[in-house]
Structure formats: structure tokens, C-alpha cells
Symmetry: C2
Subunit: 400 residues, 2 copies
């Protein structure tokens, strides 16, 4: 039990304790530094733990210390928040979230984005390649993925300018250049590596928790018209590279203990290097709001490939990893229409407009639209823990 | 005229002056630091120029200073090597290349790889998609590209372990897992950004030389069997991410003044944002040796898209760039068989084995094979300048 005055249904109780980077301007030491969210406050770790990594403007130095240290710090924070003798010191290190600015929580290394949800992959196949098999022949054998642009990863709240680019509808003989007309969100879950792995040394499925520090929410903004035109044969490029938004709080894997579930059955059986070792399906409940109205509730439990399998695949060719490397699940969708994690699927490629609760209608995003993704997960004793949110508003395109 | 004793046909005379990062163990100040290659020696810049950026183990800090400073430093180095009064100081700062170790010259940010050579793209299309149009419909409208893994970029000389992964031949019903059987090189030219550009601000074709610091050679090692199986629909991933080798010397754009040529005629005319402003075709002569035997002489002059167009395309959607971001041309090939820049093309997908000068035969790379790519370019007064080389030897796969 914490001595803090937290509502019993808080999504940020002592069993969550996600890490982020914050600044608060009311004290001399006000630069961006590492904090832990507890209730509606941020605990300034540099004030309560004697380690310079917590004074850094990114989680990277702390994450690089490795799993034993992550456990130790989590235990120390838990003790600080539960043992009454720490109360005075800890209270002096708590900042109200409302007065804090949240920054990109880590310095991104390489960014890989997967395509690991069967409902999304099949829907995208039906929409982009009508008449063909929805899933490519490789899909059930490996977690399909590609590298994204890590320099355009931004923290929740950063506005997203509508990208311009080439787009071509099949009826036209040549592409046009202009602002994307089919701008979309993609509700995904991301994973960040705390400790890397050397060149030539694959990370086995069972080593997932030794390397991955935590999970967060990710919106892989996508310009579907640019994507359809540019992606042959090397995959998406400018359709995705203009911005990727992530939530400011990194939920440690230890906080997800009660969310772990068996992944869905796989047929065919994955190759041995992808065989499940521990149970790393995750029962996360995502919710997507567009201008405040819920448009989807994608269930992460439906993911075909687990994050442990994704990391094993990413490195099986000997590719090295580094602290700060991240990868994302791909759009999370479920079997019901209300569970689809992007407008491409929700509006079936634009053919079936979506009506929001205020009566407005969307196929793709309009300027000024605001997309917010949240998620919760089972915590201890029937409680739930929260991921916070990743949000972003669309700004009109820059004049050329 | 330099006071140095350089052969008149040196590829590293005073009109070249490429930058790199070297270490030499015979002095107290022996850590990796910035050097300039002159003849068969390295000039230790920290010893002759009073700026801490030259004591850094990467070019990034110097590159970030911008084009005006690049010009100033180049002028200072030229003066040091030509004015006799500097001779004593400069000679004390010269290290024989034979005793120096060359490091990765810059810390890579995002890495984009293009597909900008028409001969290569058409050959690859014919081999991977027989019966279909060789070039995808988008190819002549935009420089097709994708993001690669920057954490596995290694400097020339680093051995490359044969990757393992999933591969499937059409006759089989399911993929197998094992070492790649179709391991290939790709002879490319890379470009590194010295100064970045903010989110939302495209870099125009005419701003190329304000951002790009220099050029180098790049070998985009490729596992063709992994690539053929994994690439639908999101492009190459593990087939390329196990290693990318780059040459240790970055040739400044100013040294390429005499190599600049008009690119080949384009039909259709590129969209306005891709219209040529300055002449940024480059007459570089590449040469690829396999175990010492020349297997190809790819002419960079055949590139359909220029590096200035590639950067304009990369950023037209508003994507930001940073110091150390790099991009590569894609495989360089020419109309003749002897000009094809990868074994996929040279052996026509394995159907036409290549016979080396020693009588040995290759379709793809064998363990212990060594691939070396070199290039030269026209310099002043009929002389030539060199890029040095990017080399790598294939090691057998790691046991599972």
C-alpha cells in the first residue's frame, strides 16, 4: 500500500510506474530529466536516487544499465512510495503532471515496424490488392516488417503537418503532386530496447525480457495515396516517414506481468527460431478517439506474432541492436469492424465512410482532426494499469 | 603545387582531400580522430587546426558546422599543403596510412537506400518478376527508395558473416531456415548530410550542396533468397539489414567539381519539385573486384536520378534530416554486362555463372570471398581523384 492519496482505480498506481522524460519550470533544476508517473504526478528520480543517469534528458543511459538494474530501481521506487519513512523526501520530488512538459522519452536508434496483426494484414491485402489472396505467402511464416525513419519520431502532442507527395489514381495516366488526400492513423504498440546485442548474435525468443525495457503506444501516421503509388517494389517510404508519434510513458515489462497471455494458435507451426518460449501475448485494450469520439477499440490480444518473436526475427540474420532501438507491432485490429486500428480499414479504403458520434463523417483525416490512442492492461488484483496516450493534431500542408 | 613528394598521378593529391577518422598508435594522442588523406598519408587535423571537432571520433561535429566552415577548412588544408612555411608543422602531423587504422567516418543517423539506376532496376525487374514490365509504373516519376538499418553500417575491412534466414524456392511448399545461398554485393555510392533540415521543411534540389557534405562508396550486401521471400508487401528487411559496408574516406562535394555532368535525358519530364537545378550527374568510374579479379566496371554517369533529386524527394513530405543521415544511390549498373553492379545481374539470377580470371566460377558469393569496390573521378587538368575502397570478406555462418 502506498502512503500516497491515489484513487483505488488509478491507472497509474504503484504496480505501473512507467518512465518518461519531463521538465517542470518551477525549480532551479528544471531541464528535461527522468521521471516516473504515479497518479497525476511525476516523481523526479534524480531527486530520490543517487545516479546521474536520471538527470539525463533521455532514458537511454538508464536503459543501458540492464535488466538487473531495472529491477533494482523499480524496487527502490516501490519502496519509496510505500514506506512511510520516505514520505517527506518523495513528496518534495513530486511534480503535478498538469505543470510538467513531457518530452520524447528516449533517443531512438533504428526503428522497425512490423505488420504482425492478421486482421489488419488481411484487410489491407483485400483493400490494396483486391482479388488476390489477402495474406502474402510469407505472412504466417515470418513477422513481415520494414525499417522506418527514426529521425521523425515525435512525442505525443506534436502537431503533424499533412504531407505532400506524389499520388496517382488508377484512372490517371500520370501522378499528381500535392497534399495527401488519404491521411490515416495506425494504432500500434511499440517496444524499446534497453540493452543491445552485438553483430552476429541473434536474440533468442526467450531473451526478449533481457533486452526490451518496456512498451508504449505508437501512431504510425500514413498517407495511403502516397503509399499505394510509391511502394512497389521496395515498400512504404515517404508515406510513413513524415512523422511517427509515440506516447511519453514507457511501461516496464514487469508492469505487464498480469497482461501476459498465450498468443492465438498458429498454423503452420512457426519455425524453431520463432517458437514461443515464454507467454508474450499481451492483453492490452487500445482505444482510438477522433476529435474525442471513440472510433475503434483494437484488442492487442489478437496479435498473431508476439513482440518476443518480432525481436528474434529482427536479429536472426545477425543484425545488431542498440539501446534506444525500437520496433512496433503494426496496426492492431480485431475481427469486428469496431476493432479496426486505422481508417483504411474502418472506411474500407474510403468506400464506407465512418460516422462519428457528433454526426460528422470521415473516410480519411481532415485538417484539424485530432487522433488520440490510449490503452490499458490488466494489473494486480483485478485493477488496471494505463499507458497514457499518444495524441496528435493534423495541420494543413505547408504552402509550396 | 604542394611541397609534398606526391606522384603526379596520385589519386589523393591536393584537389581531393577526403576526410576520415583514423587512429595511429605511436603517439600519446592516439585515439580515433579526424584526418585528411593526402597521398599515402593521413594528416591529423587536430594537430594543425585549432578546433576541438577534429579531436572527435567521428566527422559529425565538424560536418554540423556547415558549408561555409567546410569551405574554410578545405582552404586552410590546401594552404597548409602548398605554402612551404607550414611544412614543418604539417610534416609532424602526417601519419603513414600503412600504420593507421581507419574507423567508421561518421555516426550514421537515418539511412535511406534508393534504386536510382535504370539498368539495375530493369534487370532486377526482369529477374524477380519475369514476364511483367521490368520497371514498376512509378519508377520514372520518383526515385524509389526505402529505409535501411543504420546500426549495422560498418567500415570497410569489417568481415561480413553470411546471414541465416528464411528462404523458399517456388517449388517448395514451405520455407526453409538456414544460411543464405544467394549472397550478393551491391556497388553503390553514398552521400552523407552535414547539416540537417527541420520537420516540415523540404530541401529543394538546388539546396543539395548546402546539406550534403560528401560522397563515399557503399556495399549494400544482399541475401537474394531472403529478399525474394520476405519482401512482399513491405520491401526488403533482413535481406539487407545484416551489414552495409562503407568506404572510410568521405570525398567533399567540392572535390567532385570536375566530375559533374548532365544526367541522362528523362522521359517523362520529372515533376517540378524534382527538376534539375544544377548539374548533379557525376561521372564516377566504379570497379568491383572479387578475390582480386575485376568482375564489373559500373559507370555512375548512367544514374537516372541524381543525388540532388534523391534528397529533394526524401524530404518533400516534410521529413526532417540530421547531421550523419546518409542515403545511397542503389546498385550502379550500365548497359553492358560488364557494367552490372551486383551478382544478381551478372549471373542473371544464378542462371549464367560468372567466370573469374583465375577460372573459378560464381553465381553468388562463397564463404571467404572478398569483394572490393573502388572508384575514381575526373579531377583538375585531366588528373583523377580516388574514393579509396570499400572491401569485405564473407565469413561462414555462425552455428545455430
Amino acid at each position: 500500500m502506498t502512503w500516497l492519496d491515489l484513487p483505488p482505480d488509478s491507472l497509474f498506481g504503484t504496480s505501473n510506474l512507467p518512465y518518461g522524460v519531463f521538465s517542470a519550470g518551477d525549480r532551479p533544476q528544471s531541464g528535461p530529466r527522468v521521471g516516473v508517473r504515479i497518479g497525476d504526478a511525476v516523481l523526479d528520480l534524480a531527486q530520490v536516487l543517487d545516479d546521474p543517469v536520471f538527470g539525463e534528458p533521455s532514458l537511454n543511459a538508464f536503459m543501458a544499465q540492464g535488466r538487473t538494474r531495472w529491477n533494482e530501481v523499480r524496487a527502490r521506487i516501490t519502496e519509496s512510495l510505500t514506506a512511510a519513512r520516505h514520505r517527506r523526501v518523495v513528496q518534495a520530488a513530486l511534480y503535478p503532471l498538469s505543470g510538467a512538459r513531457l518530452h520524447l522519452p528516449f533517443t531512438p536508434g533504428d526503428y522497425a515496424d512490423f505488420f504482425g496483426n492478421e486482421y489488419h494484414a488481411a484487410n489491407a491485402g483485400r483493400i490494396f490488392r483486391p482479388g488476390a489472396e489477402p495474406l502474402a505467402p510469407n505472412w504466417k511464416y515470418l513477422p513481415v516488417g520494414y525499417h522506418g525513419r527514426s529521425g521523425t519520431i515525435v512525442v505525443s502532442g506534436t502537431p503533424v503537418t499533412r504531407p505532400r507527395g506524389q499520388r496517382k489514381v488508377p484512372q490517371d495516366s500520370a501522378p499528381e503532386f500535392g497534399p495527401s488526400r488519404r491521411l490515416d492513423f495506425e494504432a500500434e504498440v511499440g517496444f524499446v530496447l534497453g540493452t543491445g546485442s552485438p553483430l552476429g548474435t541473434p536474440v533468442a525468443v526467450g531473451e526478449f525480457a533481457d533486452h526490451v525495457f518496456g512498451a508504449f503506444l505508437l501512431n504510425d501516421w500514413s498517407a495511403r495515396d502516397l503509399q499505394a503509388w510509391e511502394s512497389t517494389p521496395l515498400g512504404p517510404f515517404l508515406a510513413k516517414s513524415f512523422a511517427t508519434s509515440i506516447s511519453p510513458w514507457i511501461v516496464p515489462l514487469d508492469a505487464l506481468e498480469h497482461a501476459r497471455i498465450s498468443p492465438p494458435p498458429r498454423d503452420p507451426e512457426p519455425l524453431p527460431y520463432l517458437a514461443d518460449v515464454d507467454k508474450w501475448g499481451l492483453d492490452l485494450a487500445l482505444e482510438v478517439r477522433l476529435n474525442g469520439h471513440v472510433v475503434a477499440r483494437p484488442p492487442f490480444a489478437t496479435m498473431y506474432w508476439t513482440p518476443a518473436q518480432m525481436l528474434a526475427h529482427l536479429t536472426v540474420n545477425g543484425a545488431s541492436t542498440r539501446t534506444g532501438d525500437l520496433y512496433a507491432s503494426g496496426t492492431v485490429s480485431g475481427p469486428d469492424r469496431s476493432q479496426r486500428g486505422c481508417l483504411l480499414e474502418l472506411s474500407w479504403g474510403g468506400a464506407e465512410p465512418v460516422t462519428l458520434a457528433d454526426g460528422s463523417v470521415r473516410t480519411f483525416l481532415l485538417d484539424a482532426d485530432e487522433v488520440t490512442i490510449t490503452a490499458t492492461a490488466p494489473g494486480a488484483s483485478g485493477a488496471r494499469i494505463g499507458f497514457g496516450e499518444v495524441t496528435g493534431q493534423i495541420l494543413p500542408p505547408v504552402a509550396s
